[in-house]
């Protein structure tokens, strides 16, 4: 009896997960179709670029600065164990560009943007603003989802690129001021060992993470249940789902880009 109940619950949970995955996949497909079919809403797209890209710059920049600085200290301490302190500049640069820049940037954007998109669209849903859009001959997918997803996919790589530079600068500040590196040597070592694909792969990751963040925010907002509790749950789910999806996607992309 206990085994049967446990199996039934496992089955129900699995079916629920598969159904949710199916709904999300259909939502993503519909988003892509609406992205390439008119009408387009350029004002909403530019507004979303400001909200998602420009206004996320401080938080992503600060995250990168402190991460780069801490990374330099850690690599110096680790490298000192086998007299390899000189690798600090190149490892900080490679670590930031390939991994920490896109992942931490993506997670910070997830916290800031997925929550705000889910809360905004969820509130619009429970106050009938989404229905009002439809009665005004405006497709909510085209008007609300597409501009946000497109803006996040295009601006998060830019944030990652800027974050890479700031992160490397954080490592340089610590390297020169705390670890007694020569400034010119530090910068030379940084750029000598950094390859274009180290940066390019991070930017591609940034685009994928931007897509995930906005998609999760819009999906959970659009499927929000009624009331303040429904919007709260949608916001929480959007951030959790976006964060987990970013980490999983990061592993898959790293396998694809760098596995031997």
């Amino acid at each position: 009896m206990i085994v049967t109940t446990a199996l039934a619950r496992l089955g129900a949970a699995t079916l629920g997960l598969l159904a949710a995955t199916g709904r999300l996949t259909r939502f993503a497909g519909a988003t892509l179709v609406h992205t390439v079919t008119p009408p387009f809403y350029p004002r909403e797209f530019l507004h979303a670029c400001m909200q998602i890209g420009w206004l996320s710059l401080p938080v992503v920049g600060l995250t990168a600065l402190f991460t780069g600085a801490a990374l330099a200290l850690q690599i110096y301490a680790g490298g000192a164990r086998f007299s390899a302190e000189s690798v600090v500049p190149s490892i900080v640069a490679i670590g930031m560009a390939r991994e920490l820049g896109p992942v931490l940037g993506g997670l910070m954007v997830a916290a800031r943007v997925a929550s705000s998109i889910a809360a905004e669209i969820g509130t619009m849903k429970v106050t009938e603003q989404i229905d009002a859009l439809v009665t005004l001959s405006t497709n909510p997918m085209k008007y609300l989802t597409v501009p946000r997803v497109l803006a996040a996919t295009l601006t998060v790589p830019l944030l990652v690129g800027i974050g890479d530079v700031i992160g490397i600068m954080g490592g340089w500040l610590v390297g020169v001021n705390r670890l007694d590196f020569n400034s010119a040597t530090y910068l030379k070592n940084t750029f000598d060992y950094l390859e274009p694909w180290d940066v390019g792969s991070g930017l591609v990751k940034g685009a994928a993470f931007g897509f995930i963040v906005a998609l999760m925010g819009a999906y959970h907002g659009m499927t929000s249940a009624r009331g303040a509790q429904g919007v709260g749950r949608a916001t929480k789910s959007a951030v959790v789902a976006a964060s987990v999806a970013i980490l999983a996607c990061n592993y898959i992309l790293t396998e694809v880009f760098f596995s031997a």
């Binding site: 603003q129 439809v134 009665t135 005004l136």
Partner: protein, 248 residues
């Protein structure tokens, strides 16, 4: 003009509509009354294509429009939502001119604003309101802006969902009079759903009562006042005792 036959809709195990038959003539003002949860709002959403009925047929000007929601079809409708449903990210005038600023019937910015200010004036709001945001308005003003948005593109059919809910009796009277005047002036067809009997008397050419997912009764306001239907009599007199409470 609008015909509904055998409309059924269930949400999970809950059957909200159980076969509704109803027709509305061109230029007529129909008011649908009924208790909370009897499916009045769902019925309007079925006509607009926001909710797809499980069974039944909806016709508009003789054409089958069941579950359809093309832009050309929706362009003929305006709707005032219960909570006004104004877009709080944009100022009042852009709410009113929303349809005029986008889509195939798009007008230049200045012209759209001019029309919005004129529609606001028509619902008793001055031009100083145009640049405020919805959150800065009182409930009555929000309803008026919602009304201005519903009529901005001069639709052929206007739906009013609980137009006086949450308003004081004087403001409710103002909104009722505005609806009556606008519908008469525009020659539009109107469907209003409400619990408010003062709205019914001010707005209705014909009244229909929805109960338990079905059309229980329909007739004129005079017939409503003299009917011996126990459901209608209990509802319009607001009695706690009667068949409706017994069923609940």
């Amino acid at each position: 003009m609008i015909g509904l036959s055998g409309i059924e809709k269930a949400f999970g195990p809950k059957k909200v509509l159980r076969g509704v038959d109803l027709s509305v003539a061109r230029g007529e003002s129909l008011v649908i009354i009924g208790g909370s949860g009897t499916g009045k709002s769902v019925l309007l959403k079925c006509i607009l294509g926001l909710v797809r009925p499980d069974a039944g047929r909806i016709t508009f000007d003789g054409a089958d429009v069941t579950g359809r929601r093309s832009d050309a079809f929706l362009a003929q409708f305006g709707m005032l939502f219960q909570g006004a449903a104004l877009f709080d990210s944009m100022p009042v005038w852009q709410n009113v001119a929303f349809r005029l600023l986008r889509g195939p019937g798009r007008r230049p910015h200045a012209e759209a604003r001019e029309i919005a200010v004129e529609k606001l004036r028509r619902v008793g709001l001055g031009p100083e309101v145009a640049d405020l945001f919805p959150a800065e308005l009182s409930g009555g003003m929000q309803k008026r802006v919602g009304l201005a948005r519903a009529i901005a593109a001069e639709p052929r059919v206007i739906f009013f969902d609980e137009p006086t809910t949450g308003l004081d009796p004087i403001m409710a009277g103002v909104i009722n009079d505005l609806i009556r005047d606008l519908v008469t002036e525009m020659g539009a067809t109107a469907i209003t759903i409400t619990h408010d009997m003062s709205s019914v008397r001010a707005i209705a050419d014909r009244v229909a009562m929805l109960h338990d997912g079905k059309l229980r009764w329909e007739g004129s306001v005079a017939q409503m006042d003299s009917t011996d239907d126990p459901y209608v009599a209990q509802f319009i007199h607001g009695r706690a005792e009667g068949p409706i409470a017994a069923i609940r």
